[in-house]
């Protein structure tokens, strides 16, 4: 039942209005959107699989992000070079995210129908554990080999860790310029690669199983699908993609904000996906791409627009956090209305 979703349209109107008032140059905004597309694109894609598997938005992609950060910190700790460092980062990130994905999956199998709130709490908890390890554990229990990244008191890692050796390693490859717009082709292709991979997964047997579970748990069980195991696979995939996405994000920035880099990635990715027309029940790659462009262009222009219209840039900030949270709240409200309609339809079908 394809229904016209007018959320993207609203976002487009908002972005266009804010862009008009911000008086920014189109080239600047385009450059920024391309940068954000590379940084956040994969993270948004990570949400697609659990949504289609009926688990709602996986806010614990933040755990994937944390896994990536652990890998990065280790690479800095052992002072590895660009290539060996990247290898270590991805190995540690992948292993950790598979492991934590399995744990999250087991948790979510116990919390059926309340997955979203559970993933939020898991995200919070994982953040505290991560902070405990790197703010307290380092220097007391774990001995660092690289003293430069430690705080002067000897316990805890600095807030900012420089990733000089990784900066501009992969994101300047195949850099094209069209007048003042820079297009890092390789990175964009990487994001598209992830998108294609997700498309492919959804076409395989596993993907079909995700879809059936997303439609109805009972139906899936009746078909003999091992529901618990498939749901764990969905979360592992999501966490893994999120981890890789976060590595992209950090390497693109070139600095690791040890304690806050992962903050809000879950909320913003989710809001971006929903802005592109996805719902908490159904999402596709095209929603992710459209959403990133719409959501981030609004994000880029709204503080300046707030400054120009109201003389207060803070208002623009409030507006964009309201948009981020409000989009999610709105999507939740709308989705359950649709669900109600659906269930009524099913019932009437049964009666007749």
């Amino acid at each position: 039942m394809p229904q016209f979703n007018w959320v993207p349209l609203v976002f487009a109107v908002f972005s266009a209005t804010a862009f008009y008032f911000s008086e920014m140059s189109a080239a600047f905004v385009t450059n920024e959107v391309i940068t954000r597309f590379i940084r956040d694109g994969v993270m948004v894609l990570a949400l697609i699989i659990p949504i289609n598997a009926g688990m709602g938005v996986n806010f614990s992609i933040i755990v994937g992000a944390l896994c990536a950060q652990v890998g990065l910190i280790l690479a800095v700790d052992y002072r590895l070079g660009a290539v060996s460092g990247l290898l270590l980062i991805s190995t540690v990130g992948i292993l950790l995210s598979i492991f934590s994905g399995v744990i999250i999956g087991i948790c979510l199998n116990r919390a059926k129908r309340r997955e979203m709130i559970t993933t939020i709490i898991i995200g919070f908890l994982a953040t505290s554990i991560y902070q405990l390890i790197f703010m307290v554990g380092y220097g007391t229990v774990i001995q660092p080999t690289n003293q430069e990244m430690m705080l002067s008191r000897g316990i805890g890692i600095r807030n900012m860790v420089d990733l000089e050796m990784f900066r501009n390693v992969i994101d300047t490859l195949w850099l094209f310029r069209i007048e003042s717009i820079e297009i890092p082709v390789l990175m964009i292709l990487c994001v598209f690669g992830f998108a294609l991979m997700i498309k492919y997964i959804m076409k395989t047997r596993l993907g079909k199983q995700f879809m059936v579970i997303g439609e109805s748990l009972e139906k899936a069980e009746a078909l003999g699908i091992h529901v618990g195991r498939v749901r764990i696979k969905a979360i592992v995939a999501s966490t893994l993609i999120a981890c890789l996405g976060h590595i992209f994000y950090i390497l693109n920035i070139g600095m690791l904000d040890v304690y806050t880099a992962q903050m809000n990635t879950d909320i913003f990715s989710c809001a971006a996906l929903l802005a592109g027309g996805a719902t908490v029940l159904k999402a596709d790659v095209r929603h992710a791409f459209l959403g990133i462009v719409l959501f981030h262009s609004l994000f880029i222009v709204s503080p300046q627009a707030g400054q120009n219209v109201f003389g207060n840039p803070a208002l623009g900030e409030y507006f964009r956090s309201f948009v981020a949270y409000g989009t999610i709240a709105f999507a939740l409200i709308i989705s359950s209305k649709n669900q109600e309609k659906l269930s009524i339809k099913e019932k009437t079908v049964k009666v007749t």
């Binding site: 199998n109 059926k112 129908r113 979203m116 898991i122 405990l132 316990i155 949270y325």
Partner: protein
């Protein structure tokens, strides 16, 4: 199902508390100071925790949208400060002003929650989250005139933290404060909390309170019995919001500051954790759970601060608090989920 007995969270927190008491004793942190402060913190946060009860009882779940009620309370407090009403009268005025806002906001909030049956908790979380930046617009353009509340430069927009020292800071805390064996007992404050608990207890004895419990226990049965479910659920939400508004008034006077802007964003989580520590399990929530839970939870909060300062690094206390808060909520979610799974 009535199960009395110590569950893992209670066991964990009591163990933690004993450990910290021991450490506090070793570090010679005076015991009477701990007890005095624990009593204050019980009420300071207890009313906010109490506000979760009506919604839990009605089967709506944990009110992660507590910021909605908190904002109503903040509006009332700001109005009271704007009129420069001092002392207990100022606090009472704040509570009184906040109630109409709480009813109005609660009504809208209830409308939303009634539309998302089965997904109330996650929706409530995001309604609360999105309400905060919306109110930030208001705070930065609010038509209040008391210069003590506005930015000193420009004179427009509220300050993020408003000192209540010359208004009603600690007005209720110091009401009938008695010192018994070195322990300062805030009788007025405890009495206020006691009366609020008693009122809620009596409310659940009324016909309407019974209807509310019936909806929580078995919605279909309640519907067959002729109870208007949406209306009852709406009133539970409104009641929770109103108590939440009163809760922030008590909290602010105890703390001595009104905190605006992003301050209420995460307020729901410690409150939820406290009631779960007390032994609340979904519909089976009693007022005693609020009292026990808040006391245990807030006392660990209280002692962890000075201990962390003396032992290691100050950040540890905050990290541990967050870990305990979220760990307990996660446990409750998984525990209840496991139960319903077993039932299926």
């Amino acid at each position: 199902m009535k199960r009395v007995g110590v569950q893992i969270p209670q066991f964990f927190i009591i163990f933690f508390l004993i450990l910290m008491m021991f450490l506090a004793f070793r570090l010679e942190i005076p015991l009477n100071w701990i007890i005095s402060d624990a009593l204050v913190r019980l009420v300071m946060n207890g009313v906010l925790v109490l506000s979760l009860v009506p919604m839990l009882r009605a089967g709506i779940g944990i009110n992660f949208g507590l910021p909605v009620g908190v904002i109503a309370g903040l509006l009332g407090l700001c109005m009271s400060v704007n009129m420069s009403i001092k002392g207990l009268l100022g606090l009472s005025a704040g509570i009184l002003f906040s109630i109409p806002f709480a009813v109005a906001l609660g009504y809208g909030y209830a409308g939303i929650l009634n539309r998302v049956k089965g997904k109330e908790e996650i929706t409530a979380t995001f309604v609360g989250f999105s309400f905060i930046p919306l109110m930030n617009f208001f705070w930065s353009t609010a038509p209040f005139t008391n210069p003590a509340m506005l930015w000193p430069i420009g004179g427009k927009g509220m300050r993020p933290v408003i000192g209540l020292k010359s208004y009603f800071a600690k007005a209720l805390n110091q009401l009938w404060m008695v010192e018994i064996a070195g322990v300062r007992v805030p009788i007025g404050l405890l009495l206020f909390f006691g009366i609020l608990c008693l009122l809620l207890f009596l409310f659940f004895r009324t016909n309407f309170g019974r209807a509310l419990k019936a909806v929580g226990e078995n919605e279909q049965f309640a519907g067959l019995a002729g109870i208007n479910i949406s209306r009852v659920r709406a009133w539970a939400v409104i009641l929770s919001t109103v108590i939440g508004a009163i809760g922030i008034c008590v909290y602010a006077q105890s703390y001595g500051f009104i905190e605006l802007y992003d301050a209420p964003l995460m307020m729901a989580f410690p409150a939820a954790s406290a009631i779960l520590v007390g032994g609340s399990m979904g519909r089976h929530t009693h007022i005693i759970h609020v009292v026990i839970g808040t006391f245990l939870f807030q006392t660990t909060y209280l002692i962890s601060g000075p201990i962390a300062n003396e032992l290691m690094i100050p950040e540890v206390a905050e990290i541990f608090r967050l870990m305990i808060t979220n760990g307990i909520i996660l446990y409750a979610l998984l525990y209840e989920g496991g139960k319903s799974h077993a039932a299926v």
